[in-house]
Each structure stands twice: as C-alpha cells, then as structure tokens.
Symmetry: C2
Subunit: 298 residues, 2 copies
C-alpha cells in the first residue's frame, strides 16, 4: 500500500473521534448568551481537515499513547486553529467572505459576534487544557500550556499574522517570508506535535527529534499551500486559485518560482522523515503525514 | 484611619509592584514582529487601576500568602482585562475612540493590529499561568487555569459582552441585566479573588466564603459604575457622563433609578463584608476593597 491508502485508513476513524469530541465539548445551549454558542459551533464544527488534532494524536501514538489520552488537548489545538481563522477572515484583516465554500463567521453572524466567537473559542481551548489534567499529570499539562500559549501569541501565530499583514503588497526577503510562515502556521503545527509528545512524557531526545520533524513539516505544508494556490484549479483547493498572488501575499512561489519551491518542499519532506529515524513503526502516521504535506492535491 | 487611607497605604505599593511585573513580562523588542509588542504594551501598561491583580493578591494575603507568590497570575488577570477592553473598543463593538483620555488601540494602531494585540495579550495571559507553576504546585495552577479560562469564555466575559451588545437599545429584564453584569465583569472579578485563594491552597470553606464575597463585590462595582455614569461629571469618571444612557446600554440605574440602585449597592457591600466574617485581619484589604467598590467617586 502506498502512503495515501495507509494514511486514509489511519486518519478517517481518528477524524471521526476528534469531531465527536469537538461536538461534545461545544454542546449545550444555555438560555444565555444567545447566538454565541451557535457561532462557536459554526466556526469549529464545519468542514475541516482536523490536521492539527491528528498531528497531536499521531505524536502521542508514536510514543505508545493513544488518541483518548490526549483528546482534550487535540481538540484545544483545533479550537485555536478555528479561532485564528475566524479572526483572520474579518473585514479588518483578510476580509474573506467564504471559507471552504461557506459564508465566514462575520458574514453569517456579524463582525462583533465573530470577534467574540473567536475570543470564546480561544478561551475554550484553555478550558480543554485544564480538562487534560484529568488524564495527564499536571506538570505535563503545565508544560503543554506554556508551549501552546507561546505558539498562539506574539512570538507565534499572532506575530506571524501581523507580519503577513504588514508585508501585503510588498516585496519580502526570504528571512521575512520564513518568519511569517514559521510563526503564522508553523508554530501551531509544532505545538501540535510536541504537545502530543509532552503529554506522553517524551524524553529530551524524542522531543528534539520531533521538534525538527515538526518544523520541517510546517515548512512543507506552507510551501505546498503556496504552490497549490498558484497552480491548482479553484474547485480543487476550495478558494479562488491565485488569490494569494492577487492579494500580493508573501509566498514561496512569488519569491522562488514554482519549480524551486517544489524542490524546497521535497527537501523539507526528507528532513522531516530523517528526523524520525530513531522512531519505530508507531511513527509511521507521522511519516505518512509528511508525505501528505508535500504530495497532496488540495 | 478610615478605609480610604488604609486602602491607599495597602494599594499603592502593590500597584507599583504589579506594574513593574507587567512591564517585565511585556518587555523585549525582537526584530519581528514589528508594532505588535508596542501595541500590547500600549494596551496593558497605560493608566489603569490594576484592581484585578490587586484583588488576586489581596485574596492570597487573606490566607497568609504574599504578592510575589501569585504575581504571574495577578498579571495574567490584568492582561485578560486589557485584552477585553481592546476588543470591546473596536468599531464593530462599542466603537470607542478614547479610553482614560487616550486614543484606543484601534485608533492608534488600526483595527487589524488591535484585534491581534488583544489576541496576543490573551495568549500572554496563559503563558503567565504556566509561569505560575514555577512557584505553585502544578495541580493548583491547573485548577486556576480552568477557573480563569471559564471566566473569560462563553459562560463568562465573552458571553456577557454578547448579551450586552444584543440588548443595546432595548428594555431589559432584571434577569438579563444580572446575567450581563455577572458575566461581562463579574466573572473575571470572581476569578481574581478565587485564583489568589486557590494558589494558596484554600480549603473548601474559604473558597465558598470568597466565592460569595467576590460575587457581591462584582455586583457592587457594577451597580456603582452605573450610578457614577449617571450622576458624576465627565472629568471625574474619565468618559462622557451619561454615555451608557446615551447608548441605551442596559444599566441598573435605567432599570431601578439611582436611589434604588444605591440601596442595592449598599446591600451588596454588606453581603461582601458578611462573607468575610470567618477571616481575620489579613482579610482587611478585601474589606476595604468592598467599601471602595461602593463608596468611590470614580
């Protein structure tokens, strides 16, 4: 079997468990506040790859854990991703009206509700980290908390988004491009992998290897996103093809051209795979995910 | 000495320590991202009463702790307060251009940066909770994390703000008004008091008393805010007098009139003081703060 079939067999049941857990954590319809719980569910429970929670689960499994042991944290990471998309789509930010073919949260519920739904999803993520302490030692939960909060903040996702906005429409250096992507998307991908490992009590050697893996993986995903935006037809990627270019976003393809970007992506894939050399077959899902990052079609 | 002089002698040195700690936690000017660290400092280090961190400290002291033992959490609570103000001021929310006489974050740095500065302050608050584990047992930190994340989220601050916005310009019932204030401002005040207590290892009896105290305190603050908005001159409260009424915000004075609102505030003060009956003189700062909530002039 090639990696695609193996990854599907691995991914699909875990995605279903993640989605059931997310629905559970976001369930409940108290009399007040109105609208907000629904807007949070709309943002978090719609279509989505669930890549981030699966990365957390796959990292835990690579060290002998299972999905249920890290499920609250896996879901927290998905909520942080959802929160970032809700805020990024706002008129003052990327001003996107559609996401995965559906109206964005601000289009459907208004801007104020979208800002607050994002904030409340972010808060819920940290509730879920506290929930993680029911099944993990609290010292490990606290280390995971630090990792995830840093990945989301000024030296992580928020910082990357700021530089992305500040550089829109401008020629950027390779260093700035790498900063943007390592922070805007890379930091949270790294946190997904490392949190799954931290919660299983990974030693320093394993953490170091997974750190290298996750940085290479994040880079591979981002370069491939940029290539797909440039070359794939609209219906394949679920957003207007060439939209990054139209908006003059900083991308790898704008900086290097498609062919050189492809070579960088293949190099990142190899780096990710090499980082897993010390791991046994329980790390195979992480290996398939690295292939997926570079060889996917959407 | 009356409570004012005693509270000043207590408050002023602790406020200085909180502000030094906040400046420390928000220091550093990495090459990237640009602007965001400055915007975060602008939002969090400007004028402010620092009431929330001092409540956390006073609760810790009422159980024999001291300020330094809870400082990361005290600062986290101030950052959550700052985050909420930055987002509440946005054009899509309250559309406020001035706060404490200065341009609001979105006026000074733009809307996108204000959204992201709020997000990054919120993330930083959770980093500081992880920092708290350097001086507190991790089990206590995890309980504090849950308390604070819940207070900020859909069944706390965000939920209260949603109902506040949805009810603007409408006649509200007393139940809705109580929901708005218990959540929009009350939940975080409660979390300040209880987190200081949790971190000192408070037993269930002390937590129960401080829970009653903090709910009454939050109510007292909010009713008094509404009264001051109605009766105090602009220069005294730092925002246009009557601005809540002009905006048709749900307030206690709109629902009950000023005199009945005053009676409710005095009743809440008494309830807060009664809740502290089992505490010795180390809880005096909490008592002075309850007087301050109701008898202050701005």
């Amino acid at each position: 079997m090639d990696w695609r079939a193996q990854l599907d067999a691995y991914f699909i049941p875990r995605k279903a468990r993640v989605e059931a857990a997310l629905a559970h954590y976001l369930s409940g319809e108290p009399p007040l506040p109105r609208v907000l719980p629904e807007a949070m569910r709309y943002a978090a429970l719609g279509a989505g790859k669930r890549l981030r929670p699966i990365l957390c689960i796959a990292a835990a499994e690579s060290l002998g854990g299972d999905a249920e042991q890290v499920m609250p944290t896996a879901c927290a990471l998905e909520l942080i991703h959802a929160f970032s998309l809700v805020h990024d789509d706002l008129p003052a930010m990327d001003n996107d009206r559609l996401r995965r073919g559906q109206p964005t949260v601000w289009v459907k519920y208004g801007e104020a509700m979208a800002i607050l739904a994002g904030d409340a999803l972010f808060a819920k993520a940290f509730e879920l980290l506290a929930e993680q302490a029911r099944s993990s030692p609290p010292e490990r939960v606290v280390r995971t908390l630090r990792l995830i909060a840093e990945a989301a903040g000024v030296q992580g996702m928020c910082g990357g988004q700021v530089e992305d906005i500040l550089n829109e429409g401008q020629a950027v250096s390779e260093a700035t491009l790498r900063f943007i992507h390592a922070h805007k998307t890379g930091a949270l991908i790294r946190a997904c992998v490392l949190s799954g490992a931290l919660l299983m009590g990974a030693d320093a050697t394993a953490l170091q290897s997974l750190d290298v893996y996750s940085r290479a993986l994040g880079l591979a995903f981002q370069i491939t996103d940029d290539i797909l935006d440039e070359v794939a037809p609209t219906e394949q990627i679920g957003k207007p093809a060439g939209s990054d270019r139209a908006r003059r976003k900083a991308t790898y393809t704008a900086l290097f051209g498609v062919e050189t970007a492809r070579a960088h992506a293949r190099h990142a894939l190899q780096e990710a795979l090499n980082a897993l050399n010390g791991f046994d077959e329980r790390a195979n899902p992480l290996r398939w995910l690295a292939h997926y990052a570079v060889e996917r079609e959407n």
